[in-house]
């Protein structure tokens, strides 16, 4: 049903594009996208990183985490669509060649270095996005950390994308640079907090293993406060993932 709607919309768009009125509209849309698609891709990517951090934050209530997870999914999809638009339009404009999509630092254009960073960031984004979409396939097989390692390259991809955004195109205005820097610092703070809580939890978990026979009430309280034990977390995540991917494992 949805596919039918999309096909009908596509046919309508193609027909409208060949009229003169439609062509004028298309030109304005094109100008808008040429100017803003890169910006939107980066903003959506930043939102996806923040939402992803929120969604996997163990101290957050589960309802907010579910909401954050869907926000993470939505912004990731939007970012991907704006990325495709951005790359396609830049190729049509002649600012990058088709080869630049995959091979960085290849073209001899001015600012080739910054454009190459965009290539690298977009390649990483594709991997991050693909692992996110195929999350369900990673559950129950292999080590739990495989998926994490792949998906966590988002932390590397995002600053590269920011560097590309600030330098590969038009000169960034001051408020743009400031807001990018502010977003960057915010994410750094959240990521460091995440890392700290993870290391803290691992430290406490290890210590708890050493004292296994000691099941004092104080310790079990500490366990609850520190966070959800792994089994419950994975069970919840698995159930949630089954919802998204439609698998019935």
């Amino acid at each position: 049903m949805r596919a039918l709607l999309i096909c009908a919309a596509l046919a309508g768009i193609v027909a409208a594009g060949s009229t003169e009125q439609g062509a004028g509209v298309v030109i304005r849309i094109r100008a808008f996208l040429e100017f803003y698609s890169g910006v939107f891709a980066l903003v959506a990517l930043s939102a996806a990183v923040v939402a992803g951090l929120a969604a996997s934050e163990r101290f957050m209530p589960i309802r907010l985490r579910v909401l954050a997870q869907s926000a993470h999914r939505a912004t990731a999809v939007m970012s991907m669509s704006f990325l495709v638009a951005h790359v396609l339009l830049k190729i049509l404009q002649g600012h990058a060649s088709v080869l630049d999509v995959a091979v960085p630092f290849d073209g001899g254009q001015e600012r080739a270095v910054w454009i190459g960073l965009g290539t690298i960031a977009s390649d990483m984004m594709i991997i991050v996005f693909a692992t996110g979409v195929a999350r369900g396939r990673f559950i129950g097989q292999g080590r739990p950390w495989t998926w994490r390692v792949l998906h966590i390259t988002a932390y590397l991809c995002w600053p590269i994308a920011i560097a590309h955004g600030l330098n590969a195109g038009r000169a960034a205005k001051d408020w743009v640079t400031l807001s990018y820097t502010a977003c960057f610092l915010l994410v750094v703070v959240m990521a460091v907090a995440r890392l700290a809580s993870w290391m803290w939890r691992r430290g406490r978990t290890r210590r708890r293993e050493v004292h296994v026979p000691n099941r004092a009430a104080r310790d079990s309280l500490v366990t609850e406060v520190q966070g959800i034990p792994d089994e419950q977390f994975w069970a919840e995540l698995k159930a949630e993932a089954a919802q998204w991917t439609g698998s019935h494992k």
């Binding site: 999309i6 919309a9 596509l10 768009i13 193609v14 409208a16 594009g17 060949s18 003169e20 009125q21 439609g22 062509a23 004028g24 298309v26 030109i27 304005r28 849309i29 094109r30 100008a31 996208l33 040429e34 100017f35 698609s37 910006v39 589960i62 309802r63 579910v66 909401l67 997870q69 869907s70 926000a71 999914r73 939505a74 912004t75 990731a76 999809v77 939007m78 991907m80 669509s81 704006f82 495709v84 638009a85 396609l88 339009l89 049509l92 404009q93 002649g94 600012h95 254009q109 001015e110 195109g169 038009r170 000169a171 205005k173 743009v176 919840e236 159930a239 949630e240 919802q243």
Partner: protein, 395 residues
């Protein structure tokens, strides 16, 4: 199912709704891209109009001779030398100002037509910038008349030019080129704010990048499919024709306006003085420098574009072209249109032809962008665009 606290509504429907928003945006962007690609295909695959050289109608008995390569060197040396000195004398001041130097290289003179028997000649000359100076060569059109052993040369912009154009035989200046050359010779240098009535020199719907040429009133355009198209009807004249496919072009339009194109490659073999229609192919962006001036050919392929009112370059500030108003302050150049501002280095979109008739230079400058130039008439090939006033926003 993720466990929600008993008594609370499940968060899932809201979460699903949020996720669907992402999908919706992606579909919309995809549809927009389809429309853009469709238009791009139409623009590239659609019928290209080759430049039609105007067959000169009703020429009198003497056919207009092509540049006489048969003439002996001694015949040409006199006018060439005379032309060079005259061009340097009459155009030297403006060239020195444009290049910022004191010593000028010798001009590159091209005799378009010479009638040895009657002692008349017509041609073009370009003063190239000295090596190391990034500037566009200074173009000039001249008429020369032999009196005795010497040649009297008049460069466009000088009083004698119009008089000589009127007196020249049709073998040297055909009848249909005369009016446009007279207007060119009579036009006064423009103040700011000329509505040229031209469109941008590339296909409608494409965005090219605009750069300034240091210190000059010239622009560099690059990108798109690289095909430079005539922005208005006019007559085509060549400069620095060492190799025909790389010559510099000057298009003389009505009302004394002219546009110059440099660094192009693949210039088609059009007869000089031919009438070129708006949208006709002029050449491809490149890095050629046929006029000399030994600047290394580097960087992306571009076309250097300058506008002239009569013989003097039109200042960029306030010039309206393709519905955009150009501004220049110091080294910075930008274009704006109904509040949308595009800085140098950013994509400049060609919205299509404008319907404004060019305001001739001698009239006092139009200080405000005339509303005429912001509307567009539908034309068979190009899309019409109706920009609506937007609140000023910059990135």
């Amino acid at each position: 199912m993720p466990r929600s606290s008993p008594g609370h509504r499940s968060i899932l429907p809201l979460a699903n709704g949020v996720a669907r928003i992402g999908g919706l945006v992606a579909v919309l962007v995809g549809l927009a891209l389809c429309a853009i690609v469709e238009q791009e295909i139409i623009a590239r695959v659609g019928p290209h109009r080759a430049v039609k050289a105007q067959v000169s109608s009703a020429t009198p008995s003497g056919r207009r001779p092509h540049p006489t390569p048969k003439a002996t060197r001694t015949d040409l040396a006199a006018p060439l030398g005379q032309v060079r000195t005259t061009v340097l004398r009459q155009r030297g001041a403006s060239a020195r100002a444009a290049f910022g130097v004191e010593d000028l290289p010798q001009p590159d003179v091209h005799l378009t037509r010479i009638d040895d028997a009657k002692g008349w000649a017509f041609g073009t000359a370009a003063i190239p910038p000295p090596p190391g100076v990034a500037a566009v060569p200074d173009p000039s059109v001249f008429v020369a008349r032999r009196s005795g052993k010497t040649w009297q040369v008049a460069v466009a912009g000088v009083e004698d030019f119009v008089r000589l154009v009127r007196q020249a035989p049709t073998t040297v200046i055909p009848a249909d080129e005369r009016p446009i050359l007279e207007q060119y010779g009579e036009a006064v240098s423009a103040k700011e704010g000329v509505a040229t009535g031209m469109t941008l020199p590339w296909s409608a719907g494409q965005s090219w990048t605009m750069h300034s040429v240091a210190g000059n009133d010239a622009l560099q355009f690059s990108g798109g499919d690289g095909r430079v198209l005539a922005p208005a009807p006019g007559r085509l004249y060549r400069f620095c024709t060492r190799s025909a496919s790389q010559s510099m072009l000057l298009l003389i339009h009505a009302d004394g306006l002219a546009s110059e194109y440099y660094q192009m490659a693949d210039v088609p073999d059009v007869k000089e003085g031919a009438l070129v229609q708006e949208g006709d192919y002029l050449g491809h962006t490149g890095t050629a420098r046929p006029c000399g001036g030994a600047a290394p050919a580097s960087g992306p392929p571009t076309v250097d574009f300058t506008l002239f009112s009569g013989a003097s370059p039109m200042p960029l500030e306030g010039t309206q072209i393709g519905g955009w108003t150009l501004h220049a302050a110091g080294d910075q150049v930008w274009a704006d249109r109904s509040g949308l501002r595009v800085d140098a280095g950013n994509p400049l979109l060609n919205f299509g032809p404008v319907d404004a008739s060019p305001s001739p230079a001698p009239r006092p400058p139009s200080a405000t962008p005339s509303p005429r130039s912001h509307s567009a008439t539908p034309s068979p090939r190009s899309p019409s665009a109706r920009p609506s006033p937007r609140s000023t926003h910059s990135r």
